[in-house]
């Protein structure tokens, strides 16, 4: 929300960077913001916190109270209207934050690390609320986060930033499965397989010396194919799953398995050839 | 007695006091506002209150704790008269600040005394003794004059005794050191503790500390002292009937007796001597 040195910001066809002070203030009311640390006023009750943006926008009292009541119901805080933030759990605080951000019927909801301070269960409930809001109110939600599982769970499109620049963007599944930049790869590791496994992978490739250790990348629908059992049936090889992780997303399943395929050399080569012909991506350990 | 000072130190006593005087003219009581320091001036004025009332004058007493403001307030007409200063001080103030005041009459003398715990008589004053005096500059000349009158020091020729300073001492056979350090009010405490020193104490503080200027002092100003406390008024009011009546009452037999009896002769009335 600072004066940018460069670049421009366009929301709903309006060039934000061209606005003067007053217009900028007004245009801000069309963006609802949610913060990692909630940024609630401890001196105001839940009701009054939600009321604040309405007061700022100059909404008359009666209308304001009505709207606040509505919002409290929307975010599921009925009964806690008169509580102070200090009396709320983290999840409840973020619900107040969301209600407050929605107060002026914004076009965009900007969530800056909105769930990073919450425990996993609370994160889930907040994400669920965001999905509901997205569907019901039809507003755009921009999520800023470093938690990849949050993106996996609720986002449609993703952009990866590094040093203040967007270095990669696109459909969530595309970016997750084919990360191009180093940053993206590191991030995607969080959900797709982690460094621990890489460590172990090294270890595996040294202790399993017979056969070939290969890494299989399952992308989207391909996990439906009973690949391993088909290979086992069709080729005279033994397949041993060493380690890996397979996960489901909204657009299908993906993941990585490290397997050891052992058998007669020829047969082995044919089996790997076959796997390569499927949509599963294969990586063969160099030293095996 | 401080209980009757109800109309002093109030939130806005000065302004209404003046308004009242205007209103009261119709009630046939003339109000005069007189500034005074607490003992004995304010007490003497209190005593005079009923007598003045009988003369158709309502007396308002303003109490002061310093020697600067009563004159300033007299000049700016907050006061009609003040009763706290002696003649030399009045003269020096007039000279310094160009006040157009006149002395309407002397009422009493508070003789300045010199005290010491360990020194029993004037003949026993050892060489190099410290003389502790008030740091209030107007007192210095008076104390030095007292020492000169006792033959302990000599002041330079032609110096106005009332405004003499320590630097004006030309002869000092006993090598007395004058220390003008402390607040006049603290002098009795100093007397109690600095047993080998001479301490010059203003009579009002001496009385309040339970010292008798006559019995406890080594030497004290006589009744012929020039330091008569006077009623000072603006020159324009010199002929004011009410103010002259005030002086008359204060110099009356009744008040003079009151002073003598109340202060056991430690405050000496000077009835009509001016």
């Amino acid at each position: 929300m600072e004066q940018p040195t460069d670049g421009n910001i366009t929301i709903d066809g309006q060039e934000i960077t061209d606005l003067n002070q007053k217009e900028l203030r007004l245009s801000r009311q069309e963006i609802g913001m949610i913060f990692q640390h909630f940024n609630l006023l401890w001196s105001r009750t839940v009701r009054d916190n939600i009321s604040l943006p309405l007061e700022i926008a100059g909404v008359p009292r009666v209308e304001r109270l009505e709207r606040v009541e509505e919002l409290i119901k929307l975010v599921g805080l009925s009964g806690r209207e008169d509580a102070y933030p200090s009396e709320l759990s983290g999840g409840q605080k973020q619900r107040v934050g969301i209600a407050r951000a929605l107060a002026n019927n914004p076009k965009v909801l900007l969530c800056d690390e909105a769930t990073s301070a919450l425990d996993p269960e609370t994160t889930d409930s907040i994400l669920k609320l965001l999905i509901d809001i997205n569907k019901e109110l039809g507003l755009t939600i921009i999520l800023i986060t470093h938690e990849m599982h949050v993106i996996r769970k609720i986002c449609h499109r993703v952009a990866v930033m590094e040093n203040g620049r967007v270095v990669e963007q696109g459909d969530v599944l595309d970016v997750f499965l084919h990360p191009k930049q180093q940053v993206t790869k590191k991030f995607v590791e969080q959900v797709m397989g982690d460094k621990e496994q890489d460590d172990a992978y090294e270890f595996l490739t040294t202790s399993y010396t017979t056969g070939k250790n290969i890494r299989l990348h399952f992308i989207g629908e391909t996990t439906n194919q009973a690949l391993i059992s088909r290979v086992a049936k069709e080729f005279d090889v033994e397949i041993n799953i060493l380690q890996g992780k397979i996960t489901q997303t909204q657009k299908g399943a993906y993941g990585t398995l490290v397997v050891n395929i052992d058998g007669e050399n020829n047969e082995l080569a044919r089996a790997i050839e076959f796997i390569k012909s499927t949509s599963v991506e294969v990586e063969v350990a160099p030293n095996a | 007695g401080t209980s009757e000072e109800d109309n002093t130190n109030g939130e806005s006593e000065t302004a209404p006091a003046e308004n009242e005087s205007a209103e009261n003219e119709t009630a046939e009581l003339t109000e005069i506002v007189v500034g005074a320091t607490s003992i004995p001036h304010a007490e003497v004025l209190e005593e005079a209150k009923p007598l003045l009332e009988a003369e158709g004058i309502s007396l308002v007493i303003e109490q002061y704790q310093d020697y600067i403001l009563p004159n300033e307030d007299l000049a700016n007409e907050t006061l009609d008269a003040n009763y706290f200063q002696h003649i030399p001080y009045l003269e020096s103030q007039k000279a310094d600040f160009g006040y157009d005041f006149v002395n309407l009459g002397g009422i009493h003398v508070e003789p300045m005394g010199v005290y010491s715990k360990n020194i029993a008589s004037m003949d026993d004053i050892p060489e190099g003794t410290e003389v502790i005096i008030s740091r209030s500059v107007p007192d210095h000349g008076r104390i030095l004059a007292l020492f000169e009158s006792q033959g302990l020091i000599t002041l330079a020729e032609g110096v106005d005794k009332a405004s003499a300073t320590i630097e004006d001492i030309v002869e000092n056979p006993l090598n007395l050191t004058f220390s003008p350090d402390v607040d006049a009010a603290v002098l009795p405490e100093v007397y109690e503790r600095e047993e080998d020193a001479l301490v010059a104490i203003n009579t009002n503080y001496a009385i309040e500390a339970g010292l008798s200027p006559l019995d406890d002092s080594l030497f004290v100003e006589g009744a012929d002292s020039p330091y008569v406390n006077v009623i000072a008024v603006r020159a324009a009011d010199e002929d004011s009937e009410a103010l002259n009546k005030l002086v008359e009452v204060l110099q009356s037999e009744e008040i003079q007796t009151f002073i003598t009896e109340t202060y056991n002769g430690e405050v000496v009335p000077v009835g009509g001597s001016n």
Binding site: M1, L24, R25, L26, S27, R28, Q29, I31, M33, F35, H37, F38, N39, L40, L41, W42, S43, R44, L52, P53, E55, I56, A57, Y84, P85, S86, R100, N104 | T2, S3, E5, D6, N9, G10, E11, S12, E13, T14, A15, S38, I39, Q63, Y64, Q65, D66, L69, E72, D73, T78, A185, P188, Y205, E208, A209, G210
Partner: protein, 222 residues
């Protein structure tokens, strides 16, 4: 019995002196509160990263505050004579003490206000900005309410200093307990008066402290 223990203490006088102390302290406190918050806000808003960031303005306010904090109160009274005379119409009495009391304690309080404002969560201010709030709105709806406990506990500390100042203001006939203790108690060697006045002052300080703590706790919903 009270008369035996404290033969020189006259309840009516004490009562009046207590009233004067309260009067001066409360009025001066109100003035200090307003002026101090103004100074504190100025210091805060013009500081680096503040809403009105301005190095020169910040420096000048800070200098004024520091100079007035540095001047001993007794001298401040003297220096303010012309100003007091112009404002109050007299340089004597409790009312004449007020300008000096306020100007003497507001810079100190201003610093406390600044410290209090600094403790307001930056995130909350950011949130208000993101809602399109004007600076005025941020001050009145965010900064002041969120720092209120600090502002109140600061004014309590200032009140104690102020009560000390009222005693010094005796030189211009401001009255009050401190002055009463010195002039009627000490000068007349009525040490019972000194004692009783001291006890009363301590009680008044404790009352201010208690009220301040109570309000602070009441306000603080953190």
């Amino acid at each position: 019995m009270l008369n035996e223990l404290f033969p020189n203490v006259k309840i009516a006088d004490l009562w009046e002196a207590t009233g004067e102390t309260f009067y001066m302290t409360l009025i001066a406190l109100t003035g200090t509160f307003v002026l101090g918050i103004l100074l504190g806000l100025l210091l805060y808003l013009t500081s680096k990263g503040g809403l009105w960031q301005s190095k020169s303005l910040n420096l000048s306010v800070a200098t004024v505050v520091n100079v007035f904090r540095a001047i001993p109160f007794i001298i401040l009274i003297l220096l303010l004579f012309p100003f007091t005379d112009f404002l109050v119409g007299t340089i004597r009495g409790p009312n004449a003490a007020l300008p000096a009391l306020i100007i003497g304690s507001a810079p100190f309080y201003g610093r406390l206000v600044e410290i209090g404002l600094r403790e307001v969560d930056k995130g909350v201010i950011e949130a208000a900005k993101s809602m399109g709030a004007k600076t005025r709105t941020i001050i009145f709806k965010v900064l002041l309410p969120e720092s209120m406990p600090a502002l109140v506990s600061g004014i309590t500390v200032t009140a104690i200093a102020l009560i000390g100042y009222t005693a010094v203001a005796g030189v211009i006939g401001a009255g009050g307990l401190g002055d009463f203790a010195y002039y009627y108690g000490f000068q007349r060697r009525a040490f019972d008066v000194v004692f009783v006045c001291t006890v009363l002052i301590v009680i008044i300080v404790f009352i201010f402290q208690f009220i301040g703590d109570f309000i602070t706790n009441k306000l603080d919903k953190r």
